[in-house]
Symmetry: C2
Subunit: 620 residues, 2 copies
Amino acid sequence: MADAERKLNNGKSRIDFQADPSKYRHWKLTVGGDVATLLMDVDEKGTLFEGYELKLNSYDLGVDIELADAIERLRFEHPQVKVILLRSGKPRVFCAGANIRMLAGASHAHKVNFCKFTNETRNGIEDASEASGLFTICVINGTAAGGGYELALAADHIMLIDDGSSTVSLPELPLLAVLPGTGGLTRVTDKRKVRRDRADVFCTTEEGIKGKRAVDWRLVDEVVPASKLEEAVAKRAREFAAKSQRPAAAKGIALKPLTRERSADGVEYGTVSVELRAAALASEASGQRGQSQVRAPDTREDGSSARAALASEASGQRGHSKSARAGHSPEPGSSARARLATITLRGPQAPPPASAEAMVEQGAEFWPLKLARELDDAILDIRANEFDVAAIVFKSSGDPAQVLAYDQFLEANKEHWLAREIRGFWKRVLKRVDLTSRSLVALVEPGSCFAGTLAELVFASDRSYMLIGKRDGDNKPPATLALATVNFGAYPMSNGLSRLASRFLADPTDLDRAKAAAGETLDAEAAERLGLVTFALDDIDWEDEIRVFLEERASFSADGLTGLEANLRFGGPETMESKIFARLTAWQNWIFQRPNAVGEEGALKRYGTGQKPAFDTRRV
Amino acid sequence: MADAERKLNNGKSRIDFQADPSKYRHWKLTVGGDVATLLMDVDEKGTLFEGYELKLNSYDLGVDIELADAIERLRFEHPQVKVILLRSGKPRVFCAGANIRMLAGASHAHKVNFCKFTNETRNGIEDASEASGLFTICVINGTAAGGGYELALAADHIMLIDDGSSTVSLPELPLLAVLPGTGGLTRVTDKRKVRRDRADVFCTTEEGIKGKRAVDWRLVDEVVPASKLEEAVAKRAREFAAKSQRPAAAKGIALKPLTRERSADGVEYGTVSVELRAAALASEASGQRGQSQVRAPDTREDGSSARAALASEASGQRGHSKSARAGHSPEPGSSARARLATITLRGPQAPPPASAEAMVEQGAEFWPLKLARELDDAILDIRANEFDVAAIVFKSSGDPAQVLAYDQFLEANKEHWLAREIRGFWKRVLKRVDLTSRSLVALVEPGSCFAGTLAELVFASDRSYMLIGKRDGDNKPPATLALATVNFGAYPMSNGLSRLASRFLADPTDLDRAKAAAGETLDAEAAERLGLVTFALDDIDWEDEIRVFLEERASFSADGLTGLEANLRFGGPETMESKIFARLTAWQNWIFQRPNAVGEEGALKRYGTGQKPAFDTRRV
């Protein structure tokens, strides 16, 4: 399995998630009244990496970055648009799905990241419908295969041309020995509710299904003869537009390009800083770890019995005691390379505007929107370009009262389209954080502003530490935490619950107590009592505790942590969305390592070579 | 990664899932009134495979087979038992979890199968509580590490000795770079509802947690000083016994050893036959596949556009057209080895007994119980010993009216403890079928008896085929299907829904129509109209269709099918149980392939060697 990343096209050194409609290579976005047409017309040569061509509207991550951008722009720049017509600019083919040669040459990490982002984009299309009344009608004028059909599945309505040959299909399993990677299986069973045995037939029939059967089996909503297609599309567009509450007269705001300054050690945005540094200090620091760990809160007693038991079970030799593990750090090729990314979010410099109109005037400079866009970009950048980042540490600086003032402003204007879109954007960014496979840590320190919306990052973190009181010789105000209405439902996780409801699954009265404390300024001990932070520590313990914790975290297996966090972050219910990221994605990740798919004789590698794949038939 | 299976101990050639209490090597089961004590006292030398020792009450699959057996026996042989005290027979250690050396040397397939079975056993402990009022109290007298704590998590009540050193822990991630493999993460968050950040601390603290913090964090229900332990245990046992409705005066039935006759081609039980044969016929058969596939029901038209699109996208060369794929079969090392297991279930030879007492009298010979036990053993045997089996084909023979008569008998006696236990056993066996990673196919043919309970196997299958009318020159009665009350709730899947409710997620009126047809004898066309079978075929198509389908199925990637089926079988809601088998298991399977865990320098391999593992720090 090739695990080296391909070379990016056009001499770029990082994958960039920012896009500019005037430079789209793969999509044509046209807006006419309340209907927008999003035409997929992929430029074969416009690949993200070298070494393949994007024939037949097949796509790579670069194509999807433009799609995600277009959907966001329709929400913010064109609030009057009620319906998106998702169409192909190529004859007889809607979309051939993810490019196979790209997949065949991609590293495991890239495949996983690619699927995660395309999933988020499809979810974004559905979110635009549910949360914003921006409906999508997919018009399939030819072949919609694999990821092409999965894209269609994200739409509210699927129209298939009835020309005797156009089909929808999920041929991944029979052709490539992998699964549909963008939610296809889950949307087939849970969204379109295709009967499971029919889903089995569909997903193992490489030539796909067309015509009446496609409708009978619920795979598409209607089939239309070519001669009547435009008329039917226009009719459906009018029907969906009539159901939308999007504002007919509103004028959008421009999502101006982000300003970013990159250095060797990080990135500076307007309201966000990202700082990258090695996770482990020099080896003399490691020597202190064992001792320091013993001082960890309430684990001060030496709980050696479990270790002793396991150790002795394994013949009395413990290969990696803490000190041994700490000893990795200086070793090249092991966790020595692990890094930390500290993301500092800066609170607003000025009070909220006086009116919704003034907010529109500020546009992309309006603090909550600017911060959300920059945070989103920072997270995506780390995910795709910084594989050695073991943990993301969230910090903040600013005036919590001002953060709350913005939350109150958005709450007071929540019927305004732009306020609603900004809240919706925060919801999606926070979900992106939840799904980021890096350890997430919040450090709540003097001078920070984890209040309301920003407090969600504390609750999104795997762990949070809060400093008690002031630091010696530091005049910053003691750390506080403050809850607001937004913390109780505005930003559901993919499991459908707020982060606080997920946190307090055990006892709903804990959630009630938190609600009752909304608006209060909570110091570290109060926040810990309410269960809002993991540990409140005083200045004496802080430095060592955090250092030891972060070093230890970086010394654990990266894969083990990914699996651990993917489980612990999502207690309680599952939704279609969480099933896509859990059940389906996890199986796909598994298959993306199996020789039957990615081995030298596997189906992904041999596709199109004229050679048959050789399969290990053993069932696991 | 070693993928060769170790040698079984004691010269055995297959893993046997049958156990006999008089020969238990690892457990001591004693029954006193309404309380049973199940003492874990693992025989270090009594390993399933060669090459390791089961020190400190660590376990392998052999230990768990005895545990599963003991739980079943308590349900059937000791109906008066209301409380199980799950304890350790060793001083200062409850259980050190799955044996690490066993895991380090096991094949990927064995690790996955091992975790699946131990999960089913833990679920069985919980099912005994919920469905039968047989409660489990876990008494932890020392270290409960990893799988040891996961075993405790299956109990209704966890008591931890408060001796200053005994801890509970899930040290898998920090010590071994894998996840707790037996539901631990999900039970911590979803059953015990431990706050997610505390769960994070707990699962990354190898020494575990003890004392008051273990209670405060909800990891155990109580801590008790050694001096008061026995008194406290007796008190809890009385409390739980008081809540149980199990019958004080009932006399159990003996679960007599199954009679099995094994040949090179299969196994014969009393009511079940298993026949193993090659999935692919000789190569001249393969030549017919393309043509035959074109004749598949309603896919007769050549849906070549999707293929053409993908093919041309991959430079116009299609590596594995159907005929090319069929060509695998004769190739050694590829799907040539794939086999089919046909399981034929035989209906009852006699009408149901006249009374519940007569049922008790028949005991393990009572047809529904005998069949369920034999089917369970057949499924487990294929899972663990027949990795090359690509598909399990379910057939049946007998009188459907007699099958329904037994269902009616059990329904009429559903308050009787034994009837309830038998229904519960069927529920568990059918769940085991759902979770079996082989393609499941039901063939409903003349002379079959897929009625009531047996019809569940049709609905558990990925696809079902039913023959229309009689066969030429065959006097067997035409195939029928019949529904009964049991099909609408008695046998929920792990997602909490009946198989028919899962099947008809799209439209509840489909479920209503099926309910209205309960008791009717449905021929193939009626069954197809009601959506109960995938395809009804006439005699002319039958032979070719089935052959082509099964050959094609066997030619697909085994891993891809496992992932596909794990998704399509479980539409709709998720439960804690389904999350364990979906989210957690899939991530664990993924990690079980990653070099950080299983590579030569990985943590599983290096544990106990004195060498540190070397980790790839890249996050995926």
